[in-house]
């Protein structure tokens, strides 16, 4: 009888632990997988990569929007801050640049409505020295994460225009 109670208690405690740990670990684990995929297994760090037009076959990120052209940069600030430079789309098309920390936090977002001539900023880790200069500085709580450039491109023609513009995206160490 005592043995059954012991087994039951061990099972219930393990279910609770498994449930909570999975909930807490899921964001970091899933972000880690996304960073690995978006950086080509770690080969492209601090550089933008350009996703093909979203189709039914797109499988890199869940729930992709078929109306946007995506470019992504997996950043690593261990060697210092990086400069991010994203030029505008033609015809004032909507562009947004968002910075995600490794815990999924959307720590900053900028768009073409407020920055119609392009988006430029320094990205660096929290509590590090502010980079001198006039550019805005964005702080992230984690050393690694993802920068995502989204451009409105619902048609093939608009996608081609946005694609041409995004090829000038830069995400590289300062200096």
């Amino acid at each position: 009888m005592r043995g059954r109670v012991l087994y039951g208690l061990a099972f219930i405690a393990a279910v609770a632990v498994g449930h909570v740990v999975t909930m807490l670990a899921a964001p970091q684990v899933i972000m880690h997988i996304a960073m690995r995929r978006l950086s080509g297994d770690g080969e492209s760090i601090n550089v933008f990569r350009f996703a093909d037009r979203t189709t039914a076959a797109s499988r890199q990120i869940v729930r992709p929007s078929p109306d946007l052209a995506y470019a992504s940069c997996v950043y690593d600030l261990s060697a210092g801050p990086i400069l991010v430079d994203v030029p505008p789309s033609p015809n004032k098309g909507y562009v947004s640049v968002s910075v995600f920390a490794a815990n999924t936090d959307n720590v900053a977002v900028m768009d073409s409505l407020r920055s119609p001539d392009g988006i430029r900023f320094i990205l660096q880790k929290e509590r590090k020295l502010v980079h001198p200069g006039d550019l805005p500085v964005i702080y992230t709580p984690t050393e690694r994460g993802i920068i995502l450039d989204r451009r409105l491109a619902p048609t093939l023609e608009e996608f081609d225009q946005a694609d041409k513009a995004r090829r000038d995206d830069r995400c590289a160490p300062v200096g």
Binding site: I30, S65, N106
Partner: protein, 199 residues
């Protein structure tokens, strides 16, 4: 006696391992199927803290699993629904009519996702309907077709190969009133027209 003790230890260990697996599986099922835990209006549910650092562990995990890299509400607000206006699950073999009015943002789109959270596996080039495709009438009311085949009279969102699916409404650069109060948004209706070959 040592034999009984070690048998008991193995039994406890087995219970712990099974329990951990069951706990992890229950967490994944809860994350995928319990919704975003936010607010629901006219069948559409969304959360004010998606993509935000304010999100708690549960919402953060749900977003990671079903909407990774979502924008925060100043850039976009997201709403999802899995059922039609009668509360029936959305199905690939049914035709639905989306009926909406002006939406409070610079641009919007509605996309169907299959139960694996990816786009339906079809080549219809009709993966979404958006603000630039619909033709509002004098009152600003617009209509669109959701189903496995098109309706020539209106924009079409193809659900071929979608199985049981959900719809995601994205409103980009939402008005500040909409960001503060989701109840102020006039959400599109999702009316079931027909199912199977009855159309």
């Amino acid at each position: 006696m040592p034999v009984r003790s070690s048998a008991k230890a193995i039994g406890v260990l087995a219970m712990v391992v099974i329990g951990l697996v069951v706990g992890a599986a229950s967490a994944i099922i809860a994350l995928k199927h319990v919704g975003m835990g936010g607010e629901e209006y006219s069948g559409w549910s969304g959360s004010r803290v998606t993509g935000s650092a304010e999100a708690g562990p549960l919402l953060r995990a749900r977003v990671a699993l079903t909407g990774l890299l979502a924008l925060n509400r100043s850039q976009a607000i997201y709403f999802t629904r899995k059922v039609d206006d009668l509360g029936e699950p959305l199905r690939e073999d049914c035709h639905y009519r989306l009926v909406g009015g002006p939406l409070p943002g610079k641009w919007w789109s509605i996309t169907a996702y299959a139960s694996d959270d990816y786009l339906p596996q079809n080549q219809d080039d009709a993966l979404s309907v958006d603000a630039s495709e619909v033709t509002p009438d004098k009152r600003g009311i617009w209509e669109a077709e959701v189903g496995p085949s098109p309706n020539p009279a209106m924009p079409w969102l193809s659900t071929r190969q979608a199985g049981e699916f959900d719809l995601t409404l994205r409103i980009y650069n939402p008005a500040s009133q909409a960001q503060r109060d989701f109840a102020s948004i006039a959400f599109p209706k999702v009316e079931r027209i027909s199912c199977g070959d009855s159309r």
